[in-house]
Symmetry: C2
Subunit: 190 residues, 2 copies
């Protein structure tokens, strides 16, 4: 059994990591110490700066994860600031911004980046889920912008799916899948 | 003549600093090296973290400044992320978010914080300008959200004022005035 620390305050994400990494023989423990998040254009930059900070206080292998919703018609907004925008404007605000935007202009994507810091080396694993912003909030599950995001190939929002369905299709699920591949095969992230 | 470095990429802000500090015998020079901006709730936190980073690379007294627009009806949005939100959503996006909000619900404030790092000690000077979000964009001057912000006691937006008028009434002008008072009298910031 190998231990890996997940720097996160979110117990849902912790459970997802355990479900993915447990079968590979990893014991995933939680660190709630957090890390400073930069204002910048990409999740990769946020993750790299976070790793730099956490590496200064943890003396073990660890992962951290950052995710965001990028809406094409809004020039990538809310992007790396998704948590803040969800807290202030909410799904209602996002729908208001998209008001009047036709079906073919509502493309958006969820992105997630997992940063793995192992023996002083950083690897990044990215998962993307393409889809569109719905016309209204739908579903009672999920969190954040899940009620207004419909992944490509489905008619339901993330909030209308059960947890396992969402985790299989989601940006975070895909990032974890890449991380699992790396751990299994020693293939490199970037 | 005493030299003070202003860490900013904005030549308009540099000119404003020179106009305010020159008469006190300060030679204000520009440093374009920038600093990392944190994701957090207040300008003070952004400024403090910026000072920490700049102090690591500059061996002299310096100032930096951060500003933002805080809209009451949007729970403080766009706040410390104003530059990013202006770039992605613009004034049009902000007006869309405020669509349907009556006159008495359109209160907002511009805030500016100047951080002064002098011989290893940090002082913060804050300026606030209260006002409201207009119904439409007005005026061709200023930058950022100036065309949609009308300061209390005036009917014109910041973008309808000449530079000197705006600088006298603005959040940044007020922060600089406090800084000037401190330099004149040795009164303390916070």
């Amino acid at each position: 059994m190998r231990t890996i620390v997940f720097v996160t305050g979110n117990t849902g994400k912790l459970a997802e990591a355990r479900a993915k990494l447990g079968p590979l023989g990893f014991d995933v423990t939680q660190d709630k110490g957090g890390y400073p998040e930069l204002q910048c254009d990409s999740l990769e930059e946020v993750a790299k700066e976070g790793v730099r900070a956490v590496a200064g206080r943890l003396d073990c292998d660890f992962i951290l994860e950052d995710a965001g919703l990028f809406v094409d018609a809004l020039h990538g907004f809310p992007g790396v600031y998704s948590a803040y925008v969800n807290k202030t404007l909410g799904c209602e605000g996002l729908l208001k911004l998209m008001d009047g935007t036709p079906e073919n202009g509502r493309a958006a994507r969820f992105e997630a980046v997992i940063a793995y810091y192992e023996k002083g080396t950083l690897k990044l694993f990215k998962g993307v889920c393409h889809g569109r912003i719905s016309d209204s909030m739908r579903g009672g599950g999920g969190f954040g912008f899940d009620p207004v995001f419909v992944p490509t190939g489905d008619d339901r929002s993330f909030a209308e799916m059960c947890k396992n369905e969402k985790n299989a299709a989601s940006h975070r699920g895909r990032a974890f899948d890449q991380f699992v591949e790396y751990l299994k095969n020693g293939q490199s992230g970037h």
